[in-house]
């Protein structure tokens, strides 16, 4: 019993330490940048950071769901580009705004569900299925637009990125909304419970009556749909949908997720951690830009932060025994 008590305390410690660890990492980073350049800690710059973080942060929510089930989604960046150009064409055909938004989300959802079907019905490893989708979606986006960007939209549509409510950018409000909903889904609904159960032990989940195929496919669908939502914001911000948009976003989303303490082995993770992870990456980029650090050096710094975050995470887990 004594031994178990100690284990419990350690477990408790590590569980919160990991959240607090990433959070204090973020705060520490902010303080350092503030010391180096006073301009960093101004409301306008912080909102700017949040705006820059929004797109990756939204994509990373879907990634977090997928990774908690023990999978991976490499197609998010390409699906984002594909959903963006399909929506852009729809907008140029003068469809009403809500329909255009539904087209973007629907295109993403469709791609995600195809991933889900390949993984559950086709029994492909998620890595392979989404790697294939990554190429197919990108290629289709390029074919669809003959490789050219689709530009020029109404002010109403552009306000989705450029608009503000009480001084807060609409894209940041959308991001916060997505996180609130995702957190509730993950912690309070059946879908959330099953997401953890499938990642923790798929066989046990199946034997407990979880329809593993349906819920797994749903999780990839969510990931695709959120890529579609990110496409809306990016297209509105640039006033242009580009078939080459979202390159390497999958890696940024995975990085935000793992910095946030979600294990690639599945079964554990939180969207709160992912949000902190996405903010850490955005703060770093922003701060390094303000400091005038070259983009080459930035890549080295960001890569090192990812490695350090996961090393610390593993170290905490080992200590928890």
């Amino acid at each position: 019993m004594r031994a178990r008590g100690i284990e419990l305390r350690r477990d408790f410690f590590s569980h919160y330490a990991r959240q607090l660890g990433t959070l204090s990492g973020l705060l520490g980073l902010v303080l350092v940048l503030w010391a180096l350049t006073p301009h960093f800690l101004t409301v306008s710059n912080l909102l700017n950071v949040a705006e820059q973080a929004a797109i990756i942060a939204i994509v990373a929510v879907g990634m977090t769901f997928v990774i908690i089930t023990g999978g991976i989604d490499l197609s998010v960046g390409s699906v984002l580009a594909f959903a963006g150009v399909v929506m852009a064409e729809a907008l140029h055909k003068d469809v009403p705004l809500p329909v255009a938004l539904a087209v973007a989300l629907g295109t993403g959802l469709f791609c995600g569900l195809v991933n889900g079907a390949l993984i559950t019905l086709g029994r492909l490893p998620p890595f392979i299925a989404t790697l294939g989708m990554m190429s197919v979606a990108r290629g289709t986006a390029l074919m669809f637009t003959e490789g050219r960007p689709v530009s020029g939209f109404s002010g109403g549509f552009r306000s989705l990125a450029t608009g503000e409510v009480f001084g807060i950018p609409v894209s940041v409000i959308i991001m916060v909304g997505v996180y609130v909903v995702a957190h509730l889904v993950l912690t309070r609904t059946k879908l959330g419970r099953y997401t953890y159960a499938i990642g923790g032990n798929e066989e046990a989940a199946l034997l407990s009556g979880v329809n593993v195929r349906v819920y797994k496919a749903a999780v990839y669908g969510i990931s695709g749909m959120l890529s579609g939502l990110a496409a809306v914001i990016l297209t509105a911000r640039l006033n242009s949908a580009q078939p080459i948009a979202g390159m390497m976003y999958e890696l940024d989303a995975i990085a935000a997720t793992v910095i946030g303490g979600t294990s690639l082995l599945g079964g554990e993770g939180t969207v709160v951690g992912t949000l902190i992870g996405a903010l850490i990456m955005a703060v770093l980029r922003n701060g390094l830009n303000i400091l005038g650090v070259s983009s080459f050096v930035q890549q080295v710094v960001i890569g090192s932060v990812i490695i350090a975050a996961v090393l610390i995470d593993m170290w905490l887990k080992r200590r928890a025994g």
């Binding site: 019993m1 004594r2 031994a3 178990r4 008590g5 100690i6 284990e7 419990l8 477990d11 509730l184 309070r188 609904t189 059946k190 419970r193 099953y194 953890y196 159960a197 923790g200 032990n201 066989e203 046990a204 989940a205 199946l206 034997l207 407990s208 009556g209 979880v210 329809n211 079964g267 554990e268």
Partner: protein, 487 residues
């Protein structure tokens, strides 16, 4: 080994253990889970360092630094999980890391020749060129033994070697062990199974709470004395079977046939009944459970619940029909280890606690609390991850899952495998209570005393069909074995 102590931060795992091993003897190490058996053996095999005490080998004091050092001293260990590389051949596995080399290349012919020599010495006619992947569990174990012998092991530690073997394979293993004894190899044998101890053991040492409570000649002791020493209480009745009053028929299986190997299996099950299912490994017992639970497609046949034919195509449908399945392998199939006690317990019945799309955490906690209390699950809290619970308590969490989903038919597949004596008795008591409350139980087991001790009726399976059906009163070990073997 004298006065061995081992402490981990905050815990004393071993507190002065004495253990002596004579040349050419089989020395059984007995004790409940957590008594310190594995820790003691890990110190002997070099996996752990002792905190205090002395180890002498052939009269000279030794300091065992690591597993490689233990091997060079002639101490080899065969763990429950084998350390074999599936895609390599038998010979390559035996000489892994010490391959005979010619001209810088591995000399395959020498590997196979020398492997064949070792295997012949064990009385085995296994082809050293076969890949390990295709071998039966018992054969893989023999490869492990051969590997140990090729290292000139003088001391062989075997941890639960019979856990996954059939009766027949156990006989083969025991024959091999007797051969090793004759060659002067000393064997430390860890097992939960009392019957084996009397068949193969020379001496037995009982551990309890990290101390050795005594060493005895097997001939001069008996089962009940040993159990009393292990748990420090009397278990006069190991199988406290209470015969519940049988009620109406809840389950009827008719002509069940699957591609997995079931052939025309039929039986019925009544409220309050415990139906024991015996048979050799591969006789189709687990396949039967899987078919009833909707995991394998039926080729033909029907499952009737309370007289009504139900199409059970998935575990979900089985659970809705009132079935619960306690799988053989708790960790791989029964539990989601990184999730909490509460989340595991409520997993099959989340629907029950969900309203308007949200899981009602309060009602869920209340239900979980109830079962933790009723089944006396020892956990520091509902949010403890099940990975930290002991085997017996994990088993109770699995049981609670199906209590919570209000199952009326429980399928137990090897309910006490890897569970210590004290927890075993508790699980039997729970089965009695379940039966008394009107639940019907199908109990698949490879342990004949358990089958005989707990069942009201016994089905013996052979080659995918029911070979015999025996009322518990008339059944004996011999009768069951005859049926299972088809003699």
């Amino acid at each position: 080994m004298r006065e061995i102590r081992k402490t981990f931060p905050g815990v004393v795992a071993l507190d002065g253990v004495d253990f002596g091993l004579r040349r050419g003897e089989v020395h059984i190490l007995l004790g409940e889970n957590g008594a310190g058996k594995s820790t003691l053996m890990k110190i002997l095999s070099g996996a752990y360092q002792k905190s205090a005490g002395r180890i002498t080998l052939d009269g000279a004091e030794v300091e065992i630094r690591n597993p490689a050092h233990a091997q060079s001293l002639g101490i080899a260990t065969i763990y429950q999980e084998f350390n074999l590389v599936p895609h390599l051949s038998v010979g390559e596995n035996i000489f892994l890391g010490r391959e005979p080399v010619r001209l810088g290349l591995i000399d395959r012919r020498a590997v196979n020749r020398r492997a064949a020599e070792v295997l012949n010495g064990l009385g085995l006619s296994l082809d050293p060129r076969r890949p390990v992947k295709g071998l039966r569990v018992a054969e893989q174990q023999m490869v492990e033994v051969a590997k140990a012998l090729s290292l000139d092991a003088r001391v062989l530690i075997m941890d639960e070697p019979t856990a996954a073997l059939t009766e027949h394979e156990i006989k083969e293993l025991f024959a091999a062990i007797r051969g090793l004894k004759a060659r002067g190899v000393s064997i430390v044998y860890i097992s939960h199974r009392m019957e084996e101890l009397f068949e193969i053991g020379d001496r037995v040492t009982v551990l309890r709470d990290g101390r050795s409570v005594g060493t005895f000649d097997v001939k001069e002791t008996n089962k009940f004395e040993l159990i009393r020493l292990m748990v420090n209480r009397d278990l006069t009745e190991l199988f406290p079977k209470e015969h519940a009053v049988l009620g109406e028929e809840v389950l009827r299986v008719e002509g069940l046939t699957t591609r997995g190997g079931l052939k025309d299996v039929s039986f019925s099950l009544h409220k309050g009944e415990v139906l024991g299912i015996a048979g050799l490994l591969g006789a189709g017992r687990t396949e039967l459970a899987r078919a009833i639970f909707g995991l394998d497609r039926l080729e033909s046949g029907a499952v009737k619940i309370k007289g009504e034919t139900r199409r059970i195509g998935s575990p979900r449908a089985a659970i809705n029909a009132g079935l619960g399945f306690l799988t053989e392998d708790r960790k791989a199939q029964g539990l989601v280890l990184p999730l909490s006690v509460k989340d595991n317990l409520c997993l099959p019945s989340v629907d029950k606690f969900t309203s308007l799309g949200f899981v009602d955490a309060k009602r869920e906690r209340r239900a979980a609390e109830r079962y933790v209390k009723e089944l006396r699950i020892r956990t520091p809290g509902l949010d403890q991850k099940v990975v930290y619970l002991s085997g017996g308590n994990q088993q109770k969490v699995v049981l609670s899952k199906w209590l919570c989903s209000e199952a009326e038919v429980f399928i137990f597949d090897e309910p006490t495998r890897g569970v210590d004596v004290g927890a075993k008795a508790e699980i039997y008591q729970l089965m009695n209570r379940l039966a008394a409350s009107g639940v019907a139980i199908i109990m698949i087991s490879s342990e004949l005393p358990e089958i005989l001790g707990m069942s009201d009726r016994i089905l013996v399976m052979r080659a995918g069909s029911v070979a015999c059906e025996l009322p518990a009163r008339e059944a004996t070990q011999e009768k069951i074995l005859e049926c299972a073997l088809g003699e």
